[in-house]
Structure formats: C-alpha cells, structure tokens
Amino acid sequence: MPLERLDEPGLGLTGTTWTRVSPKLVWTELVTTVVVGLVITAGCVLFAVLNDGTGSTAGLVWVLVSVVVAVSAIVTAVLTPRRVRAIGYALRDDDLVLRRGLMWQRFTAVPYGRMQLVDVNRGPLDRVLGLSELKFVTAAASTNVRIPGIVAADADVLRDRLVELAESRRAGL
C-alpha cells in the first residue's frame, strides 16, 4: 500500500515558501533526547539490577523495558536532524501555517487576527546556540503553536511583525 503523506497540493499550499528553522536546533534536540533517554534507561537498569537482573521474572521485564527505552531514544536521536528539517513555517496573507513532524505530521493554521499574544522563550541550550522559541497563544488552549530554533535576532523581528499583523487584523474573540 503506498504511503501517502500530507502534501502541499492537497492542503492548498502550493507555491508557499516555507521558512526552515536553524539547523543548530539539532544540537538542542539531540542533547535533550540523549539526556532524557539516558536518565530513563539508567532508572530502568537500576530497577533491573535491584531485581536480580535476568535472574527473576521482574528483573527480566525491567531489562526488556530498559532495552526498549534505549532503542527508542536512539531512534529518536538518529531521526532528529530530519525532524528538525521538517519544521517549517510560512506567513501567508491572512494566517500563519506551521508544519512539524515526520512520523506524526501536522499542519496548523492560525489566522493573524486570532493571536492573543506571542511569547519568546530561550532555554539554556538555546541561549548558548543563540536560538529562541516562539510560542503563539490564541483564545483556544489547544492551539499550542510553537516554533523552536529561530535565530534570536530573527525571533524578535518575527514577533514584532506578527504582533503588527495581529493588530491590523484584529477582530472580536
């Protein structure tokens, strides 16, 4: 069976120029994945050791769990560069479109007039690499649109631009 992805012609996005995020975001994501993966794996291994390793049933289960965790962390880490490349956003005439994800692909369209505020967040790793994360808040809690890995100076410019657009298209709630 052919695997069909959500594609630009189907979404009416033909000719849209996507802005990609900084490739440096790969490092932030990698470090996060590796650290989280290591911590959880270590925890599982600890439980396995406490349960006599492969000697008992409980220990065997914990060994299997830690293997699964480690493998999924490695897969996530390996796919990180591709996942980062898949993040893109486009400023269309009336709305912002964000695309994310490889396995779990998603496109979100937020009309400018619906943005209630724009956050700029910078974690410690982001600061080292000079990146920022932009977060958009609408009246709907489920919107949750975040664009990570934008070069800090660009992020401020983009925020100001989006606020301006939101202001010019402001409608009721």
């Binding site: 594609d7 396995m103 369209a109 619906r114 606020v163």
Partner: protein, 630 residues
Amino acid sequence: MTFRPGPPPPAPPTKGDAAAAAPLTDGEWHRLHPLTPLLKGGIVLIVVLGYVLNNLRDQLVEFFIPGTGPQDSGDPVRYVWEHGVVGWVVLGVVVLLVVLTGLFWLSWRMHEFRVTGEIVEVRSGVLFRTNRRARLDRIQGINISRPLVARVLGTAKLEIAQAGNDANVQLAYLGARAADDLRQRILVLASGAKDDDPRAVRRSDGVLQDRVDELFSPELDPAAVHATRIVKVHPGRLIASMLLSGTTVFILLAIAAMVVSVALTGESGILFGLFPAVIGAGGYYVRKFSRSLQYTIADTRDGIRIGFGLVSTSNETLPPGRIHAVSVAQPLLWRPFGWWDVRINRATNAGNGASSNQQVSSIVLPVGRAADVREVLDIILPGLVGSAVAGPDASREELREGSSEAVDVVDDSLTTTGDRGGFVHSPGRGAWLRPLSFRRNGYRFVQGAVLLRLGAVWRSLVIVPLPRVQSVRVEQGPVERWLRVASVHVHTVSGPVSARIGALDAQDAQRLWSGTARRAVEAAAADTSHRWREREARDAAATQAAVPQPVGSTAPWAPAGPLGDGTGGPAQAGPSGDATGRPTQADPLGDATRGPAQADAGTRAAPPGRWPDVPPTAPWSDVPPPGAAR
C-alpha cells in the same frame, strides 16, 4: 507600563443618549443595594445566632420548667448567668454588633460601580482597594441570579462575564428590578445601538405585594424580556433524563457490586460506610434537578436568554457571537426516547464559587426532542452563523435565513449515516479506526459554519461558527498514514465541545483543513458581532438624516481606557503587551487601541449604501497585505 492611578476622567456628557435617561448607566458612580451587607454577612449572622440559640436552649427550658434541665457547668451561657456578668456580655455583644455593622456599612459605602458608553467599572475595598474595568464590547454574557434570601428581599446579583479566567465583574446585590434594567441598558450600550425602546414600567402595588408577586411569578416573564421564541423544558422529561444518565448507571453498578459482595461475604458492615455516599448522590440529584426546573431558552433582541430555577432563580443573557461551538448530542440511554442535549463552548470561565453555575451555563438545552433541538438552534444560530453569512448589516429575518441552511442540515442529520445530508464521511478503510461509526463520521461546510457529524453509538453533531474558529490543525500518524486517513482538529475556546474528527480520507481531511482556514479568515473579517447592533443603529441614523451621535460617547478619553496604553505603538499595545495581565483590570484579551477606532467609526455619518464602507473592526483594504510588505 505602570498603572496610573490619577483622578478618574470626568464622566462624559450623555445628552440625547438613551443612557442619559437611565438611572444607573449615566456614567456616574453608584452604590449597591443597601441590604447588601445583610445579604453578604447574613450567613455569618445565622451561624452565630444558631450557636447562641443552641446554647440557650437548656437555659430556656429550665427557665420555663424549673428543675428539669441538666446541671452541667461547662455551658458558657450558664457560666455567664451564674456569675452575674450578663450586663458585660450584653455590652460586648452590642459593641461587636455595632463595630461589625459599621465595617459592613463602610465596605458597602466604598463599593461603587459605574457604567459608561464604553466600560463598566467597579471599585471596592476599604484598606485594599480594587478597581476593575471591563469593556462593554467584550461582554460574554450577563447573568442575574437570585438566591432564595436575596429573592425574598427583592434583590438580585448581577454578574458580567468577560473572557478569561476569573474575569467577571460582579455586582452583588442590586434591587431586583434595577438589575433587570441595568442588564438591559448595558446590553443596549454594548450592542452599539443608540435607541432603546421604551419599556413598559411595571406599576407597584406596594412593597409587600410586589415581593409576594415576584416570589410567585414564573422565572421567565415573557412580557418583560420581549422574547419572540421560547423553548421550555418539560419537568417530567428532565427527571427521566437525569435518571437515564451515566451517573445513574454508575450508581446502579456500584449498588449491584455491593449487594454481590455482601451476599458473598455475609458482612453487612460495609453498608454503613456507604451511607454518606447515598446522601451525596441524593443531594446531587436534588441539586441538579432544582437548578434545572423551569428551564427556558428564549430569543431576545440582545441574544439568548437561558433561565432556570424554582426557588433560587438564575438567568443569563448571551449576546450574539459569544458562543464558540455548539454540540447536539445523544447519550446512549436517551436513544429510545429520541432525546438530545445542546451544549456550547464559551470564552468565559467564571471563578469565585460560580463553577457549578458555569457548568450549567454551558448547557443550553438539558434535554429535548429533535423538534426542541431545532427550535433551540433557530434561536442560537442566527447570531452565530447567520451574521457570518448575511453580513453584519442584516436584519433579523436575513440572519435567520442565513442560518437556515445550518439548522436544516443539523436537523436532517441528527441520525443519518453515509452521504445523506451532503456529508463527506470516512472511507471504508476508516473502519479500522472507527469500526462502528465510519459511515457516520463526516464533515460538511454550510454557509457560515463547519459541521462535524460524529459517533454511531454516542451520536453528536458539532457546529463551529466560522467567525469563531481560533486555528485549525490537520495531523497524520504512522497508522493513519498506512490507512491513508488523517484527522482534523478545529480549535475553539475550551469547553465541553471538542471539534475534532479523525479517520477521514487524507484528501478530504486536507480539503477540510484548507477550507476551514480560508473561510475562517473571511468570516472573521466580516464579523462585527462584538457590537451586534451598531450597523442597525447607524442605518437608523442615516435614514433619519439626523446628526450621528457617537456610539462610544466616551471617545475623548477612550485612548486612556482599560489598559492606559492605548496610544502606544502597535507593538506595545498589541497582544503581547496584554500578556502581562494586571489582576485588577478585567481586560485580559483587551485591545485598547480599538477604542478610538470604534468611536471614530461611530461618529462618521453612515452611508446608506452597503456595509463594507466603514467596517469598524477589520479595515481589510486599508492595510497592505503582509506578503507585499515582506
């Protein structure tokens, strides 16, 4: 941005305005009902009185029947009596009462509100002053509730719901009639209309008779609300619907489990532990039922009025365009009877102990047949869907016509499956994800709204008015990709209605996504429901060739309005500026910069022609397209 206290700007002159005639909306500061301290402190008083009476009981019994009472000496009243310090105690009590009364009086005196053409403002507090201002065009609903005691005393609590968490403006308590009148005036001011039809003044038959009349009058007085359509919920059906709810099933299952366990173990002690739970469940039903008695949904000129209650009544008016999503749903147990309920999403999230009330107010129709559902949709959809279709200058008939397609489709599609009703439904391979409902699971665009038809067992229909769509997302996971399906989530403000549909054919899902995104922008641009009657007022002014009266008569100082930074650049006064949120100012989503534009639009002479000439909110053609600027 700092909060600038300063003297409040002088109240604007309101000559010639309808508001000038209104006693409470003249822009001056007013106080609440003089009985407010009693009603607010009433509970404390009753508790204290109860304690004293409880202690006095033995004393009184012995006073009348000497020698019968128990002679324990731990009783404080007895101690006081026997040591001859009654005078001191009475003095202390009197002083305490005087001080308390004085404090309550002071608190009442410092609690003031005012309503101008643009805002409603409340200031209160003696030591810690609070000042809250709310923009009238951001009102999400006005609720008037009358608890029993307040009702007996002829008072009512008025609550103005604003978007956001705990952002309500509460006026407790006002005179019952003053509350009704104030709501009417606020809605007129908020709607942008300038005229107010003179309302019939109810004549008074003396204070006592008025109280009695009001106490026994039905919750909804049709003459007083000018309702054109009214849907009433049958009390018998209401009881039955509650008994057939999921809670009942749960309780029955719990009882069955108990019986089985007692029968098996032979230990009946567990039943005693169950006693509080039984009382709790009974209380739940009684509360739910008494709140829903006399439930009415009425169509008034300024929106939908939802009222309920037998002893303590409550009714709320939702102006048009304040509903963000509607669902018509049928729990499984209601299916044999063909009953449905109608729920809505609203932007307001009332705090201050009104959480239960909030739950009720997200239900529009607790139970009803398909015909009732149709009536209710006829009431609520014209202001939501119709205004997106017919344009903001439409008359009521045009609005109704604009929403008729949506109403018809919903009415036809409550129980349908397959292609009927023009729905695009899941493909056959969607059965892997929706084994029972894949033929029903579908979407359809109607004018001004997107409809989702969901669920074969728990049937529901979701209506999202396009002007209220916040954002839209399409997603596809690995399993969905393998099945060539995708899911779409239309984001609205949070509430009981979730507009999410999965297992659609990938192509259909993408069309739904792009169609919703495009139509939502168009609909939002044309939407003026935050000032729902402004156009009507301007047309009237144009036809009378009168000098147009500014709608926001507070225009001169409006820029210094709710946030005090309305004159700042767009970047500061924009959405991010609002994010800092000051707790004392009820304008979490405010847009102070629209104040002047609003008033400006109001002062211009209305052209008799088509509406897009001076759209008050979205000057679409005036701004350069963002693409060009980049």
